[in-house]
């Protein structure tokens, strides 16, 4: 098979999709986390400030989901169909939650009435939390593996998804995004809200560390195929060790009130955890718990060589542009958030 820099095309495409999902996790992660935390702020001004802290950027962040979805569709159409139709109900709820989240942000400030704002505040937090938990649940099930038969058909039911491991991953995702979001908000705020957020950041970091430890243990005990890769490639052990070191660094920077650095590290740990997950799966994407030979590998699922090449070219041209817009946007809205007449 054709290779570029020693890697075959499906592997390249696996990396591209992994990169896009990581980009989505790092970017939308903080605004989803901010949404999950929204109801912890009681005063109207605080709520407006934290909402406007993500105001100009959340939509751009969500684009990464659209691109990652399109990339999965284009690169591994079989997996796209199997995964989305398998998780039919969770994905439908996910889509509805995305709608509610978007309109909560957009509609909240349109009327001054107390009940109106309260309603959208609740809707915003519930949908942000729901999106995060559903993403975590799907991720947890993909790590754990699914009952898939020879024809790549799912043989379980809705309850199959709610296994303890997947639920743990869902809450770990939530804790990570809440921490990530809290650090982002602390960077964007000042005065009393800032002080309040420093406390929230501390609590979030404790929540995340607890989840991190539980997830690490549960993965070692219950998901042997995740650790299989590490036995054959011991050098990969550097990854989990790195994750632990970064975790300690986040805590250290939070304690030292260096929130920009802490944000950098919470971004890296999001990436690090997703890379660990990708390494554990590779070269499969969907693991069958019915029979390992029924698992769907990237080679079975990949589009044609020609299509993958074209798409790599598109990604090579497009990704720097997307990163460029993202940087431009964040640079334009750098510094502490201020309210004005165009704010939400």
């Amino acid at each position: 098979m054709e290779t570029i820099l020693g890697l075959d095309l499906p592997t390249w495409w696996f990396l591209v999709i992994g990169g896009l999902i990581t980009g989505y996790g790092v970017l939308d992660g903080f605004d989803l986390g901010a949404g999950a935390l929204h109801l912890f702020f009681k005063k109207e001004e605080s709520r407006r400030l934290v909402l406007n802290a993500i105001g100009p950027v959340w939509d751009g962040n969500e684009v990464w989901l659209v691109i990652a979805g399109g990339a999965l569709f284009a690169g591994f159409p079989l997996v796209y169909g199997v995964v989305l139709s398998t998780f039919y109900i969770p994905f439908m709820l996910f889509l509805v939650a995305l709608i509610f989240r978007a309109i909560s942000i957009e509609f909240r400030s349109k009327e001054p009435w107390l009940w109106w704002r309260k309603m959208w505040d609740i809707s915003y937090t519930v949908s942000s939390t729901g999106i995060t938990l559903l993403l975590g649940l799907v991720l947890g099930n993909l790590i754990h593996g699914l009952p898939i038969n020879k024809e790549h058909e799912f043989t379980g039911n809705l309850l199959t998804f709610f296994n303890p491991y997947a639920i743990l991953i869902a809450f770990t995702t939530l804790s990570l995004f809440m921490l990530h979001g809290a650090i982002y908000l602390v960077m964007k705020t000042e005065n009393r809200l800032y002080t309040r957020l420093t406390v929230i950041v501390n609590n979030c970091s404790k929540f995340f560390i607890l989840c991190f430890i539980l997830t690490s243990m549960a993965t070692l005990i219950y998901v042997p195929h995740m650790t299989h890769q590490f036995k054959t490639h011991p050098e990969l052990f550097v990854l989990p060790m790195l994750a632990v070191l970064i975790l300690l660094n986040i805590k250290r920077n939070i304690d030292a009130r260096k929130y920009y650095t802490a944000f950098l590290y919470s971004s890296i740990i999001t990436a690090c955890l997703l890379i660990l997950f990708a390494v554990g799966l590779y070269p499969n994407i969907v693991i069958s718990t019915t029979d390992p030979t029924y698992s769907i590998s990237i080679y079975a699922a990949a589009s044609s060589v020609k299509s993958l090449k074209i798409m790599l070219l598109i990604a090579a041209i497009g990704t720097p542009m997307v990163i460029g817009y993202t940087v431009f946007l964040f640079w334009t809205f750098r510094g502490k958030v201020k309210l004005n007449e165009m704010s939400y």
């Binding site: 751009g60 399109g70 796209y80 139709s85 598109i314 990604a315």
Partner: protein
């Protein structure tokens, strides 16, 4: 309970039809915003700044719902149409990914600057952002229409594997992108979108004029809308003709359904209004004899391939529906041309804004391009049946095999409820925004009068 296929089709049709209320408005408003802000930059008049800022707020409302309902569409391919996803992923997926990476990312990032950047960036950068958002929305449509056009007129591919494992694989990217219907359908869609956006602008302007509120601002926005609408309405005649021509060449069964034409050996008329009795394969109505023959072959006496040339199981079933939708679209297109030309004429005679009756018509005419856009797509998509990829993959074979009727029923009810709520909220907030009106800068109106008065007497603003 209806079958999974019917439920999935209803769900897809419902979610896409609802979604399609918004993107055309964004695309059309995007262009109007570029013109308004461009006029502000050129003249420095506060009035243009007022209306730009006003329409940006409405744009944001529309764009937000467009994005939220658009993401649903992307994922629905996988959830409900897994076999289809596998079949077309190599081609359709790449167009969708290109849309995300080239268009949507640009649109969303610059939207942030457009909405929140007035005090953060200078006028030039802000205008640039407006242009990028407008351009992004057009690129977005480009890739989506390319993907859809490939389903209508597949090109640049070959089929690999068979039965359940069959899939289309790209052999020539540019041939796939520039498949026979891409260009015609894209231009038709974009101009339809310009009409949707510009008629919204004119509708709001006309309403203010009727209510005698913000009159100067209203006239300025009406003129911006009209300048887009009149060109678009006339161009739509051309792109519509081109589209009909490609259909006649590549999807004869669809064209035959659009005009209710059954007999291949006969000269085909073009109906102004009519009714198709599909059971007895008979069409009645007011017609131009040989009209369709002329449209398809450039001659009033040439025979046109009829529906009977296609086996029953391979042609659309809902012929009368396709016929009616197609004819509603054309009738509206003609009305839009008439309305905009009349408005331009009266504007030239300096009588436009005194015609109450015409302002009332324009205030309501906002629904016309919306209806035309909707029914045009119904005709195009229902007319393609029973194929999801023309002559290659049947809609009934494209489903997700493991999704059950209960699941689709659940999601269909869920979307129906959510979208009803969404539409109610949208209409409520839009009405509120319109009632509130633009925030008027001090001296905006006198400055505007002075500027144009000076211009008329050849004394440009210093």
């Amino acid at each position: 309970m209806p079958s999974v296929e019917i439920l999935s089709r209803i769900q897809f049709a419902f979610t896409i039809a609802f979604h399609y209320i918004y993107p055309p408005l964004s695309i059309g408003l995007g262009l109007c915003l570029v013109i308004m802000e461009g006029l502000y930059l050129r003249t420095g008049l506060a009035l243009y700044k007022d209306i730009t800022r006003y329409w940006i707020k409405i744009f944001a409302l529309i764009f937000g719902i467009g994005v939220a309902t658009g993401i649903v569409m992307e994922f629905e391919f996988g959830t409900n149409w897994a076999t289809y996803s596998h079949y077309v992923g190599d081609i359709f997926g790449s167009a969708l990914a290109a849309e995300g990476i080239f268009a949507f990312a640009m649109e969303s990032a610059f939207l942030g600057v457009l909405l929140f950047g007035w005090n953060r960036v200078n006028k030039g950068v802000h205008f640039f952002s407006t242009c990028m958002v407008a351009l992004g929305s057009i690129f977005s449509a480009l890739w989506i229409v390319i993907a859809n056009s490939w389903q209508q007129t597949p090109a640049g591919f070959r089929i690999e594997g068979h039965d359940l494992h069959a899939r289309a694989v790209v052999t020539d990217f540019w041939e796939m992108v520039l498949n026979p219907s891409s260009v015609d359908r894209f231009s038709h869609v974009i101009i339809g979108s310009f009409l949707a956006g510009s008629f919204l602008v004119m509708s709001v302007g006309a309403w203010y004029i009727l209510k005698q509120r913000f009159v100067k601002h209203a006239q300025a926005m009406f003129k911006v809308g009209l300048s887009v609408a009149v060109i678009a309405a006339l161009m739509q005649l051309f792109t519509g003709h081109r589209s009909a021509h490609y259909v006649s060449k590549y999807q004869p069964a669809k064209l035959a359904a659009m005009e209710g034409h059954y007999d291949s050996s006969a000269v085909a008329p073009m109906y102004l209004v009519g009714w198709v009795d599909n059971k007895n394969e008979k069409t009645t109505g007011i017609k131009i004899p040989g009209g369709l023959s002329f449209l398809a072959h450039g001659s009033f006496s040439a025979p046109v391939e009829g529906l009977r040339a296609t086996p029953k199981e391979d042609r659309p079933g809902a012929v009368n529906f396709v016929f009616q939708m197609y004819h509603i679209m054309i009738s509206i297109g003609m009305i839009l041309i008439g309305l905009t030309l009349l408005a331009v004429f009266l504007l030239w005679r300096k009588k436009l804004f005194h015609q109450r009756w015409l302002m009332i018509i324009f205030a309501w005419a906002v629904v016309l391009p919306q209806i035309a856009n909707q029914v045009g797509w119904y005709a195009a998509e229902v007319g393609r049946q029973p194929w999801v990829v023309y002559k290659l993959l049947r809609t009934s074979d494209a489903l997700s095999r493991k999704v059950t009727g209960d699941q689709v029923m659940f999601s269909l009810i869920l979307f129906t409820l959510v979208y009803l709520l969404l539409f109610t909220l949208f209409m409520y907030l839009l009405t509120r925004k319109i009632q509130h009106g633009p925030d008027i800068s001090e001296h905006a109106e006198t400055e505007y009068d002075g500027y144009y008065h000076d211009n008329l007497t050849y004394h440009p603003k210093s």
